[in-house]
């Protein structure tokens, strides 16, 4: 579904991604872990098309297309979804209207009928229940006055409604207490299917107790330095990231 080859990206002329290689197959869940500043969030944002990053090398194939050639909104319509690490607050636009506008853009692209306000409301209610969200949150302005945890839940609500093919979750677990994390994980597990794929970007292993990944990758200094099964996450939890840094350091010296 997704193939990243030698992806290099900069922000403000600073190189952040230094050659990422990653293959994500349909029906798979990949976890990308790594210490702060390793480039995890940059990778997520580059895949979604954030304008602050410039891709300097490499390519990304998504469903046979050149993903990097698509505008952010086209990526979304093609089924790429990014759950933001820091969701934005949008004054004066209700959560329901925002979601319906986005969903209908995606449906139009797929050649489906747009949902009217009533049809959409049914879908919204069902998904909000799944995420145990207050009904009032649908009419409130997008993320405005939401707590950190509510914002993250709102991201997963959007994911559940847009039903993407490739969902990228950027540090969704940060700011979530254990109960909220279980709710989010339940929604993600319900979303998982043989027809889609999920990339979970996280610093900590704890979310992976609830969302079991098929593959775990460790990102350090803009490169994937290690890949493995779900046990790799447990190893990181136990030993921290220092040994990865040391290993990577040795590698770099060897390369020099």
């Amino acid at each position: 579904m997704l193939e990243i080859r030698n992806l290099c990206a900069t922000a403000d002329h600073k190189t952040i991604l230094k050659g990422i290689n990653l293959k994500v197959g349909i029906g798979e869940v990949h976890a990308i872990m790594g210490p702060n500043g390793s480039g995890k969030s940059t990778l997520a944002q580059v895949l979604a098309g954030h304008p602050s990053y410039a891709v300097t090398d490499g390519e990304v194939r998504y469903e046979g297309q050149d993903l990097l050639a698509l505008a952010p909104e086209e990526r979304a319509r093609e089924g790429v979804f990014l759950a933001f690490q820091y969701p934005l607050e949008i004054a004066g636009v209700s959560n329901a209207y925002f979601l319906r506008t986005g969903l209908n853009e995606i449906r139009k692209h797929k050649g489906l009928e747009e949902l009217d306000a009533m049809e959409f409301l049914g879908l919204l209610k069902e998904k909000m229940k799944l995420l145990e969200m207050e009904p009032s949150m649908k009419s409130r302005s997008v993320n405005e006055g939401f707590s950190g945890g509510e914002k993250k839940r709102n991201e997963i609500l959007q994911m559940a409604i847009m039903d993407p093919k490739l969902a990228i979750m950027d540090e969704t677990d940060s700011g979530l207490d254990i109960d909220a994390m279980k709710i989010v994980a339940k929604a993600v597990n319900k979303f998982r299917s043989p027809d889609n794929a999920v990339i979970v970007v996280t610093h900590y292993q704890r979310l992976l107790n609830y969302i079991t990944p098929d593959f775990v990758h460790v990102l350090f200094d803009g490169r994937i330095v290690r890949s493995g099964g779900k046990e790799l996450a447990l190893e990181l939890e136990e030993k921290g990231y220092d040994w990865i840094k040391e290993e990577a350091g040795t590698l770099r010296e060897a390369r020099v």
Binding site: A48, G49, H50, P51, A71, P72, E73, R75, A76, R77, F81, L82, F84, P87, L88, I90, A91, G92, V93, S94, Y97, F98, L99, T101, G102, L103, E105, I106, H109, A117, S141, Q158, M162
Partner: protein
């Protein structure tokens, strides 16, 4: 700006004629008020950009044009369907319609019954039939000395609305005052007087609109007295043609334990200036002023507000937002004065501006003048462009650039519109905002 020589001033010449004819039948107190006002104008003339209060707004285009009052005998009769878009779809609301500043009975309507002693009528009729009702009120809260436009307005008082609520009275729904301009060069000199006695409640909507794309000039003054324990909600919707000129002054006096709220939407006219002055004149008074200005093309809209905390224990809230596009220019000047003994004042002011083009311009000036020491006062003004991060958030949800910009912009305005508690007014404003932001066809539901 050059000052026009007084002897050549058409307004003064015109006054001299009217003074001997139409105005000759006025009671003596009124005649001397007119005369005092015109001499004030003769002395001061129109404001110039040399004056601090008019630094950013030149009115030379008004001063040098020749706007004339429409002859009093002209009956503006046209199909009532023409004003339908400016109404709120309400059958029984009290409505006074003025065309080029003069009352049009045919287009006006009254609910089946108003509470006893409540009066909602046109000022010309009151001045003719029972001028003693307004003596002592007229020009009491809106002194003609404030600026040349108020002086002119007072000298030429002809018509406008008179709304009176006796003790404890309440008008259901709201009173709609609709001012229509439909002729080039027409001067609509509108004067409204609203008196809410102790314990009364009323909501008043003033809408200013144009038929056709006419270049007319509205010079309007509204004075409002909110007596003790009373409540007045005032709405001003200014959406005149892009060739029109609008100078409006609203002067409000708020009594003990009373509340006043104002909502102002300025979207129309080539040049508009709104002066809104509220005096919290007794303890326990409060006011909330909300404003929204939407500019495009080469419009110039200036909102000057002043809240005077004249007595202790009063609250004021002010929240004005502006969306400034293309080559337009907006001015916001929010002055809050807390006099020496007005302790325990609580005043908060916010002004936010969104610039949508590189050629758009905003002058935002919050002004706090505090002479008391035990007060809570805050103010803040921001000028910014559309947030790129927010745009990306929309795009990442499949929403394209154009729609994303429109939605974020609309949301910015919506934050003010959403504060309007009366649903038909809120929906009307919502549609107006969408139209102005060129988002037609998306209304009909609240976003």
């Amino acid at each position: 700006m050059t000052r026009i020589p007084i002897e050549a001033n058409p307004y003064i010449e015109n006054f001299d004629i009217l003074e001997k004819t139409e105005f000759a039948k006025d009671p003596p107190w009124f005649r001397s008020l007119r005369k005092a006002a015109i001499s004030h104008f003769a002395e001061k003339g129109f404001p110039t950009t040399r004056e601090e209060e008019w630094r950013f707004t030149s009115v030379s285009s008004i001063a040098t044009a020749s706007f004339k009052p429409v002859p009093a005998n002209r009956k503006d009769l046209f199909a009532s369907g023409k004003i339908e878009p400016f109404l709120f779809g309400l059958k029984e609301c009290a409505r006074l319609v003025f065309v080029n500043g003069l009352y049009c009975e045919m287009l006006s309507q009254m609910p089946p019954r108003l509470p006893s002693r409540v009066r909602v009528e046109n000022l010309a009729r009151v001045l003719e039939e029972s001028p003693d009702l307004v003596e002592g009120h007229l020009a009491r809260y809106a002194p003609y000395g404030n600026n040349g436009f108020s002086a002119l307005n007072t000298a030429f008082i002809r018509d406008g609305a008179y709304v009176f609520l006796p003790r404890g009275a309440e008008i259901e729904g709201f009173v709609h005052l609709l001012f229509v301009g439909d002729r080039n060069e027409a001067l609509a000199n509108v004067r409204n007087l609203i008196v809410a006695e102790r314990g009364s409640r009323v909501a008043i909507v003033e809408s200013f609109v144009s038929l056709e794309d006419s270049a007319h000039f509205t010079n309007t003054v509204t004075e409002i007295q909110v007596a003790g324990d009373a409540s007045v909600d005032h709405y001003k919707i200014q959406n005149e043609s892009s060739r029109a000129f609008h100078i409006g002054t609203t002067e409000v006096n708020v009594g003990k334990d009373s509340r006043f709220s104002s909502f102002s939407l300025s979207a129309g006219s080539r040049l508009a200036r709104n002066n809104l002055n509220v005096c919290l004149d007794a303890p326990g008074g409060e006011c909330a002023l909300y404003g929204l200005y939407l500019l495009s093309g080469s419009q110039h809209i200036d909102n000057h507000t002043m809240i005077t905390h004249a007595k202790p224990y009063c609250n004021s809230r002010e929240f004005y937002k502006g969306i400034v596009d293309e080559k337009s220019r907006a001015v916001f000047n929010g002055r809050v004065v807390v006099v020496k003994d007005a302790q325990k004042t609580d005043a908060r002011q916010t002004n936010k501006n969104l610039l949508l083009s590189d050629a758009a311009h905003v002058n935002a000036k919050p002004q706090l003048e505090i002479f008391a020491d035990d007060v809570k006062c805050t103010h803040g003004a921001t000028v910014g462009q559309l947030d790129e991060e927010a745009l990306f958030y929309f795009k990442s949800r499949g929403i394209g650039e154009g729609a994303a910009r429109a939605l974020i912009t609309y949301g910015f305005a919506k934050e003010v519109v959403a504060r309007v508690p009366v649903e038909p007014i809120r929906l009307h404003l919502d549609r107006l905002v969408l139209r102005k932001l060129k988002q037609e066809g998306k209304g009909g539901e609240e976003m």
